[in-house]
Amino acid sequence: MATEQIDGQEDDGGVGRLLRERLTRHPAPAMLRAAVREALEPRAARQPWWMLWGAPAATAVATALVMLLWIAPSLPSAPGIDPAQLVVRAVLAEHARNIFWGESRSDVVPAALPRAMEESGVALNWVFTGDDDIRLVNAKPTYLEGRRGIELTYQDAEGHTITYVIVPGGTVVLPERGRVQIDRWKPVVRRENGFSLIMWRQQSLLCVMASDLVSDEDLGRFKEYFVKVRSSTEPYMVY
């Protein structure tokens, strides 16, 4: 029992014993047990969704296609979408995925980095791996809007996730509007869909940092993180 290992004593006023004997146990309710079993069941064993919804879905798709063919000629042509905005949206989607599904495995980052660099085509001469405030918790290759790049995930001491995506910049031009002087750089800073974004060009690369640090105070902290990352990370395109 672990108690014996804690300074080899049980002179804790019986707290350990009290916990073991008196603390209410909360066994999993039957519904949770069933739900977990269901969730863990191999996919093949479950009835495929299309067996239930296949026919109605096919009908709906066919109807939609007919309607589209009928009204397409009268639709106004859409204006060109800003490529920077497309990347921003993709980064935000990626950031949301990170918050909900991302891993926090700082122990595997040293091994993950070389693979991420190799598969992304973006290498890092230097990379900021963290300090007392934030630390690098994941690195992986990514693919956004037809651009292969690298994605680094940081977490700060309070559990905020910061997603840092580096992709080939191509012809993307960052707007002058929204540029803010931070230390010796002047990136674009904006709030979008409940997240904060900092974007900048670095050599031929487009770099975007996203976080949920949106209040004025939090944004100040996000800018500090930007300075740390920006000054200690040197990405370049391998090919």
């Binding site: 029992m1 672990a2 108690t3 290992q5 804690i6 300074d7 804790d12 006023g13 707290v15 350990g16 009290l18 916990l19 073991r20 008196r22 603390l23 209410t24 146990r25 909360h26 066994p27 999993a28 309710p29 519904m31 949770l32 047990r33 739900a35 977990v36 079993r37 969730a39 863990l40 191999p42 918050i99 991302g102 891993e103 926090s104 700082s106 309070e158 559990g159 996730t161």
Partner: protein, 168 residues
Amino acid sequence: MADDEFRQQALQHLDALHNLAVYLTRNGSEAEDLVQETYVRAMRFSHRFQPGTHLRAWLFQILRNTFLTFYRLRERESAISEDGVPEGEAPMFHDAPSRDTESAGAHMDLDRALTRLPEEFKTPLLLAEVEGLALEDVARIMDCPVGTVKSRIFRAKERLRGFLKDYQ
């Protein structure tokens, strides 16, 4: 380890995971969500589990990391008194075994006292004392050295003793 075997073994720890989830989230439905999410992640990353190592500890680690990611912000938003102790939290007593009034009172006091501990103290205390995990496993779960775990458990017990005195 085959998927089926992994699944069977992982399910054996459902009660323990749910128990910890309840004490972490202090909310029945959130605890259930947390446990489900833990299993989904465990299955997704089952290939990373090394057979021969401690599956129970690995699952606890996933549960804690998931909790920190999803629930901590919400926890911080709850009312915090000056000494950093959440106020107005109603401990959950469902599934409590039926005993005499005095014994039930002791359960309530202990549950309430435990609720007042910060997560950094509560988790190692529960894992080591209630779940019986080795300190090395607890350290791995908490992502800190064994010495830190010992110190946190010691301090958790000290605080718990103090809280329990408040209820006497």
